[in-house]
Subunit: 220 residues, 2 copies
């Protein structure tokens, strides 16, 4: 299969959600790693719960509420200046090192897009920061419909944008639950499993497992 | 407020989801506690994800899929006999010690009900095992509608059963996300916070925090 349209999840897949661990350690010492883990886990949980409750808020707000929870649960004080610094850094989250060179190659063989839970301001911030402008034909956000993944309407945004069938799209994600949701929707799915994670037991599996993004490049 | 209808969440609230820790330690040694934590966390996650994806399966199936994940993620072999023993034990999960005596008192002052994600077979098993038959006017299961909490349709089951308004019901849960979901739906909500947990940051808070169920008993 050489897909003509490749759609990427952003956070955890292109962008390194652990890129702020150093900053967290700077402010909170040894608790930094623990904050980071709780923060990410609650961020996801809150996207799911808000969608289930029909109480949507943009990803940037959910992200900060999850950070509040993480610090509260560890009895750590989160001052406004530190909170603002973390949010600001989150808007400029680092991509994994291989992302830019591999996407530059991939755009020669397929149309590329991002499909993310994040709102446009966050996505544009990260795309600009990582010099990925012009790489993507489409930057699609769950914010357009006010639900988060894995609601099928979010995945549908990609088919609407490219006027194509789900099976014509290769969706790439590192998040196991997103792999399942995308497969349940009907995409071809590649699981980018950089860190040897365990697949979810939810009745759907990826079509392809890759360890590195560069495995998607077709050699000429 | 002396509510005339009190509706309880089951798992974690009346039933001790850590009651199998001893059995897990018996089979898996020191990894038992870690299995237990991952199992519970994935069980919840899978209820949310399946509801979001519209791929409902009964709670008993989701529970076993979460156990499969927990063992896989720790590279532990889960044999069929151990799996069956754990499932069987889960169907007879122990209530917290105070539950039976307090519910016997509470049924003198209000109509009592259970509203749970679990399917009826699981709920009936646990209710019989803990000698709580006849205590509840209603045993309501998310299985009746094929969605899990915090979808509002699940909470609605209680209002339908008692033909009442949400505000006429006091809903009691130990699960912070369930407290939020129930409050967003419109119940009066008591958070039974036995273990000094951190509240969720999701825009809704309980009306009342109790440390023990007995705080609901109105002294005559």
């Amino acid at each position: 299969m050489t897909p003509k349209i490749i759609v990427f999840d952003a956070y955890g897949t292109l962008l390194n959600v652990n890129a702020l661990d150093g900053l967290l350690e700077h402010h909170f010492g040894d608790a930094g790693t623990e904050i980071s883990a709780i923060w990410r886990s609650k961020q996801l949980q809150y996207t799911w719960l808000r969608t289930l409750m029909e109480r949507y808020k943009p990803f940037s707000s959910v992200t900060m509420e999850a950070l509040d929870f993480a610090c509260n649960s560890l009895k750590l004080k989160l001052t406004e200046p530190i909170k603002e610094e973390l949010l600001h850094s989150y808007l400029q989250l680092e991509a994994f090192p291989e992302v830019r060179p591999v996407l530059m190659q991939l755009q020669e063989q397929a149309q590329l897009a991002v499909l993310s839970n994040a709102d446009h301001a966050m996505l544009e911030g990260a795309i600009n920061h990582n010099k990925l402008t012009n790489v993507f034909a489409e930057v699609l956000s769950a914010d357009a419909i006010g639900h988060f993944k894995p609601r099928k309407e979010v995945y549908q945004l990609a088919c609407d944008a490219f006027k194509c069938l789900p099976t014509e799209i290769l969706f790439v994600s590192s998040n196991t639950w997103d792999v399942v949701g995308a497969k349940a929707y009907g995409f071809q799915v590649a699981w980018l499993n950089r860190f040897n994670n365990t697949p979810d037991h939810l009745g759907y599996r990826e079509d392809l497992i890759i360890k590195e993004l560069s495995e998607l490049v077709v050699s000429s």
